[in-house]
Symmetry: C2
Subunit: 361 residues, 2 copies
């Protein structure tokens, strides 16, 4: 089994301000990658610009990363970074800007390569990346993944290169400005990472140490998620859980709930966390049905009586998600066409098992 | 709080043989650092030489690292590495060769520097290091520490540079040849790391996650330590515990039991693990007396009823360790002269507290 988390993680109040010189030491000219709003509203962008200025480091901003960023957007940002001569990249935001920052860092480093290279397993290196999360779900600040929207094959997919961030600065104050539904949605995404990593054919003692501790930390903040009332301690707990979740999936990958979610996000515009949440109760049910060890323990560690009460909690969090019989068949087909996802299930899963996850309830 | 473990860890059967090309990719000319016996007896040296040959990588062997290696020995090995033009270092053995390998890697990289540089906080870089443990105690395969014997100040001390190994290959088969008392002594050292990291002023949620999980894993193998009968599962469990312990002290450092142990090792020739073990019951007693949170939980996680039964277990493992009143005063003086060690205690510790640890029982 393997353990590899090379990212230097700072999780504390004013993490960016305290460790600004280390961020700035990654290079001389930074390309800052953000979405349109959250980096500004949370104050994270101000913190980053301050520490870069204090350390006499130049920067340019690309602030047009959309939710579920496309390959085209990544190439547009990379073009700016190439022309500017950026030698490191800073991603600020939720999973979308942080994932995009990694892909952009790859394309700026390999300046003469076309977008096709993103999905070719060439093991190319990237510029160093610093990540600053403003949500508590993705774990992208520690994972090597960069999931982009591929319009050519009408789904989301991680690029073929593993890009571990050099530094992650995690600060609960950036969560304060987020609407409560964003906290909830992203926390469900983190729970998906934890459950899909624990119940995974690639799980090891190391990855389970991370996923179990993440589940326990997540469970401590479950009531706040139900009530949509968050203290700073809740933010810190959920950030800790989501970083552990990121570390866990760095070793195992995700599984069917994530695999199925991409259809709902791409075709129905359902936010990522909610789209993952739809399939978590069914995935847990499938594990129980197939007598996969650890189900009772994990349900108890999450603080639920059984899979039904877990389902009730999730449905209360994510609300109604509309999809019909045709969508179901399309989802089954998408997994069948990408059988790698089936291999992550900790038993020999078949087409009917996918249906069972979708139909559970 | 910080989390930083950049070492790529492989813990599995035939880890060296499976990941040999990655070890070889660290450079073109390897300096292999071992003690006189264990690297050969365990078969670890054969494995390393095989993978280097298979990958057309040259190497030279320095096999004269003594227990508690001295600065002089490190400089002798570095001289060989400098003349050879080594561009990476492989350490094989217990803590002594693995720690020495890091210090040697520093001195070969900085080829014109004298030995004084080892203890100057200049933040120098080192050649890349791969580590292959043949005991289950030190955790050196993942820590940035390199503890050497300093004859100038008559004690042991870690060098002033943090050198994280690039790769650690951990394989239970190398423990098979070790005498049972070595397994026991080194497992006590690992327990020291876990307890001293948990009860530490520098402890964080991250370091405690590592120390608690390490303690639980250690406890699963406690009976084997008592009976001196080990299965392969025991070896793997103890190796897992000692690597987690190494990760934990990488973030917190050790505390008074390690600080006190150096006197016994330097002046009385007591093996490191036994010398640490002497002070563990007293340290736990001191934590209880000062109502430091977590004592009951940790004692229970170790699988003991109370501090007395823990003391009984440790004494049974380490046997009689002779030291007199003069030694005690010398030990107190050594800690007083190096007050940094006192700052690692999770309350404001005084001279009398050191005495209490020494005299407990």
């Amino acid at each position: 089994m393997e353990f590899y988390i090379p990212t230097k993680i700072y999780h504390e109040d004013n993490a960016v301000l305290k460790h600004g010189s280390e961020i700035a030491s990654l290079g001389r000219k930074a390309l800052i990658i953000t979405g349109e709003n959250s980096a500004v509203l949370t104050g994270a962008l101000d913190d980053v610009i301050k520490v870069l200025e204090d350390n006499n480091t130049e920067s340019v901003l690309y602030d047009k990363i959309e939710e579920n960023p496309s390959v085209a957007t990544v190439m547009e940002a990379a073009d700016i970074g190439r022309k500017y001569g950026a030698d490191f990249v800073i991603g600020i935001g939720g999973g979308s800007p942080m994932d995009a920052a990694k892909a952009v860092a790859l394309m700026v480093q390999n300046r003469d390569t076309p977008e096709e290279v993103l999905y070719q397993p060439l093991g190319l290196k990237s510029l160093p990346v610093a990540e600053i999360p403003t949500t508590c779900g993705t774990g992208s600040e520690v994972t090597p993944y960069a999931i982009l929207t591929r319009n050519d094959i009408k789904t989301k997919q991680s690029i073929s290169h593993k890009i571990y961030p050099a530094i992650a600065c995690i600060d609960a104050k950036y969560l304060d400005m987020a609407p409560s539904h964003i906290i909830r949605d992203t926390a469900i995404d983190a729970l998906g990472h934890l459950l899909e990593s624990y119940f995974n054919a690639n799980a090891t003692e190391y990855s389970r140490l991370l996923s179990i501790n993440g589940i326990e930390k997540w469970a401590e903040n479950k009531n706040a998620l139900a009530e949509k009332e968050f203290t700073k301690d809740n933010y810190n707990g959920l950030l800790f859980a989501s970083t552990l979740a990121g570390m866990a999936i760095s070793h195992t990958g995700t599984s069917l709930p994530h695999g199925l979610s991409y259809y709902l996000t791409y075709n129905k515009g359902i936010a990522h966390g909610r789209a993952v949440g739809v399939f978590l109760p069914g995935y847990l049910y499938l594990m129980e049905k197939n007598s996969i060890p650890g189900c009772k323990d994990i349900i108890s560690k999450m603080g639920f009586k059984n899979t039904s009460s877990f389902k009730e909690f999730i449905e209360n969090c994510i609300g109604y998600i509309p999809f019909n019989e045709e969508d179901k068949e399309n989802m089954v087909k998408e997994i069948k066409d990408n059988p790698k996802k089936l291999l992550s299930v900790p038993f020999e899963a078949k087409e009917d098992d996918i249906r069972e996850i979708i139909n559970y309830g």
